[in-house]
Homo-oligomer: 300 residues x 2
């Protein structure tokens, strides 16, 4: 694409369905850069959130009805928890404009194909997406323009998707600062199960385990929380509805990764019980090696 | 203690047995502040480490024999991996000066009482200690004077310890910037098993689980490592010998905490499998609550 075309907004009317951390970050980028869309309309589930978006001056239009929000939009992005997608898709499907791109930002992708796919009319380009960016904060106030900078956005187009529409959506995310990779939905779900969903499940769990113990030990667990535990609580301080929906919608991959992890943890427990020093040392060295590889990949 | 006494060095001769992250930080503080000891002697297991300490100008004396290092010292601090303590204690025991304080910085405390206790001569004050501070780096170059600032140091004196010696060691750590708490060794080992040792075991393990999977998925696991996994690798990038020794020397408490955690993780897996949304949401909320309590305690 030429330099001149780079200056043109990619879309005429961008509809953001949901305006939490991700949605409000996209709205802010659209307002700040002008190269994503000529107009931005935001929709939120509650009047309170929509009012807040208005106070923050995030968009050109504020629409309480998702069906009206998508009317005439040439790009529609679902930015709600993935558990809400089926109902949203049923509501907006008949109102999607021919030729529009319909995408999303959810952390599970096979569930999105399952829940949204049946409601996509002929002529609408349905390309599920997942920007791998987030913080421990949520809501319209949490967004910021740098959120996607140098982060991956994974696109999982269904078979037979229009290459031009995929290229356009890829450019959209690149203009948001992200790096883009295309893969199939099943592969995506396995990769994120191990790099993101299982770590979150573990973090939520150990916080509960520690909290039970804290009741026995008069708050000392929290008082003396060492660096190990502090990092876990940072991960654990996430949005309950979003994570509930992610776990329930990536069930098979998550349970498989948890089973693999549990086998490995039990092998470590056995090494600790029987004093297998070599085994333990080897596992710690492996952690260091992976850390180094991550640093080399400039992801840390 | 009066202002004037605060200016006096606490000890005449401080012997640091081991000069890694913790030992070299203590040496640096002693040199920088002048209120810990009049002279500092360091000992290291290898000639290479001792030479490095000399190049860094960390101490007044460098001694390759731990028995000679402790001679005439009124404070001796074991700063080696806890697995080395039994042999070290056997070597230095006969050379400890009457009235000296013998302490350590290891992350397990019942094992220290077991391994060091039998070698402590009559008249030497044996007070195990554990400064809860560390980074992902190790060795004499890794130390810095701010390491203990606002971190907890836990002391686990054995029954019948001299209160004056405990008070003096407490002041030592306070002058290093730490907050000090006194508890019994068994209680200490349970608390650190959940706040530090189990999180590390989990982090080492999940890195291995992911690494196995990365072989299958052509590096994508590392490439797309989301924030969840990145935090785990930061924990996992630790010293293999130190952590091997910690796991082997806090065996019972660590295995109990892992068993508790595994029960809780299996309960979460069951909720995911059967779609128990309320259970999952409750656990995520609990993680947030603990995070908030930690922040309130000014530990995060």
């Amino acid at each position: 694409m030429s330099e001149m075309l780079d200056q043109e907004p990619l879309f005429d009317r961008l509809a953001l369905i949901g305006v939490g951390l991700i949605g409000s970050s996209l709205a802010r980028i659209a307002r700040a850069k002008g190269t994503l869309a000529r107009r931005v309309v935001v929709n939120a589930r509650t009047a309170e959130t929509l009012d807040r978006a208005r106070v923050l001056d995030l968009a050109d239009e504020y629409e309480s009805d998702p069906a009206r929000a998508v009317e005439g939009a040439d790009c529609v992005i679902l930015c709600a928890p993935v558990g809400a997608y089926a109902a949203l898709a049923a509501r907006i499907g008949p109102h999607l404009a021919p030729g529009a791109i319909l995408t999303d930002v959810g952390s599970t992708k096979q569930s999105v194909v399952r829940d949204v796919g049946p409601f996509v009319p002929e002529g609408v380009h349905f390309i599920p997406g997942h920007p791998m960016a987030g913080t421990e904060f949520s809501g319209p106030d949490a967004g910021f323009v740098e959120l996607f900078q140098n982060r991956w956005c994974l696109l999982t187009p269904v078979a037979g998707s229009d290459p031009a529409a995929i290229a356009k959506l890829k450019l959209f995310w690149q203009r948001c600062g992200a790096m883009v990779s295309v893969m199939d939905a099943a592969h995506h779900d396995r990769v994120v199960a191990i790099v993101s969903h299982l770590p979150h499940l573990i973090a939520f769990t150990i916080c509960g385990t520690a909290d039970d113990l804290a009741d026995e030990t008069r708050q000392e667990v929290l008082q003396f929380a060492a660096s190990g535990f502090r990092d876990f609580t940072r991960i654990a301080a996430s949005d309950p509805v979003m994570w509930r929906d992610i776990f329930l919608n990536n069930r098979e991959a998550l349970l498989e990764m948890l089973a693999r992890f549990t086998e490995d943890a039990q092998a470590m427990a056995r090494a600790v019980r029987w004093g297998d020093a070599g085994y333990i040392e080897d596992k710690v060295l492996r952690g260091r090696k992976i850390r180094k590889e991550l640093l080399d990949l400039n992801q840390a």
